[in-house]
Symmetry: C2
Subunit: 198 residues, 2 copies
DNA sequence: CGGGAAGCTGACCTCCGGTTCCGGTTGCGT
DNA sequence: ACGCAACCGGAACCGGAGGTCAGCTTCCCG
């Protein structure tokens, strides 16, 4: 798992952050993660700052704007996604389709507690994804391999392609967000997995 | 098809609208429909007014707030949905599952050109749905009957229930809204339909 | 055709959340 | 210990979108 802890402006990489700055940065991310895990979808910068025990200005010192902050959350989430995919790829015991299904399920459990990533997935926010470009690229690579194997095993619908994975995740994210009584994203996923079978 | 043309405040039903008022009301709805059919998701009241060739005040004379206007669009859209379901129910030739599938597909084609309804479906906006309560009720009734038949014919997964229909539609709406290159809500639907089969 | 109710207009108000900015504070190399 | 660059805080700022209202216009009934 590439734990990069990227600085906001990262190019000619500068000297490490001052100790207090690094601490604050972590606190901010942590606060944002917690808030985006709650039910209210519209987390605002002041809240993040307050929960992190920090002024808004400090938040903006670390993240150029709201999208950059969300981008970092998305980036970390995609790291987890990739971890899930790698684990599925490494699994020797279950079949190719089962591995793919397990990875998908794990990712959705993960995204169920991260409104920031759901938002990114559903609003197609290019700006946000820009911060997680390399992670996304790896994601697509891993997904491709999982799919290739499932196709080879003849267990996956022929027309299923790699880009269908984020698409399907996007759809289920919507379900998670609404969460009306009687709705259940797990059933939604089950339905889709069933539909993916060759 | 119940073409009610409901007035905004409808209870002790008043005298009919003055001719120009009725004309304006129609224009406003038409303008809103057209704007919500465009790509930009965030239609604003001033735009609607302008396109209708009317002042903002007039829009607010007919609809107490933005949600009421969207509610009317949603109401009309659900009328179309119900029409689709009734047609599927009346179809003698195709099987029970095929009828259900056709209805779903028709509804999604319909919702693909109505961002207002997509929004309502995806944001679980109770406020908006309140304006279409009776239409929604009928929708669920019709859906139930279609599902009952498909279950009876043994063509539909046992655990598929009526509330899954709006849920699935919600998911696909998300896909429609994002519409990344390589994404295709038609494939998404096909996948789900395949998954619904017993 | 005249009066008045119904309807229309659009500048203005308000709220809200992201973003800025600068005076004060603090970690850290020397 | 000193000094300064990096960092912090949070009140103030700003723009955008929904919503209001006082004054004017239009329809329609008698």
């Amino acid at each position: 798992m590439s734990t990069k802890t990227s600085t906001d402006i990262e190019l000619g990489n500068e000297r490490p952050l001052r100790a207090d700055a690094r601490r604050n940065r972590e606190r901010i991310i942590e606060a944002a993660r917690e808030l985006f895990a709650g039910e209210r979808p519209n987390v605002q910068m002041d809240e993040v700052a307050q929960r992190a025990g920090v002024g808004v200005g400090t938040v903006y010192r670390h993240f150029s704007d709201k999208e950059a902050l969300m981008g970092e959350l998305v980036r970390q989430r995609f790291d987890l996604f990739n971890e899930n995919l790698r684990q599925a790829l490494a699994d020797e015991h279950s079949g190719a389709f089962a591995a793919l299904a397990a990875a998908l399920r794990a990712n959705l459990v993960s995204v169920a507690e991260d409104a920031a990533t759901r938002f990114a997935l559903m609003s197609g926010g290019e700006r946000v994804f820009a911060h997680a470009a390399s992670e996304m690229e790896e994601f697509m690579l891993l997904a491709n391999e999982l799919i290739r194997r499932a196709h080879l095993a003849g267990e996956l619908r022929d027309d299923f392609q790699a880009s269908d994975i984020p698409m399907v995740m996007c759809g289920i994210c919507a379900t998670i967000d609404v969460s009306k009584p009687g709705w259940d994203w797990q059933r939604h996923l089950t339905l889709i997995l069933h539909g993916m079978r060759a």
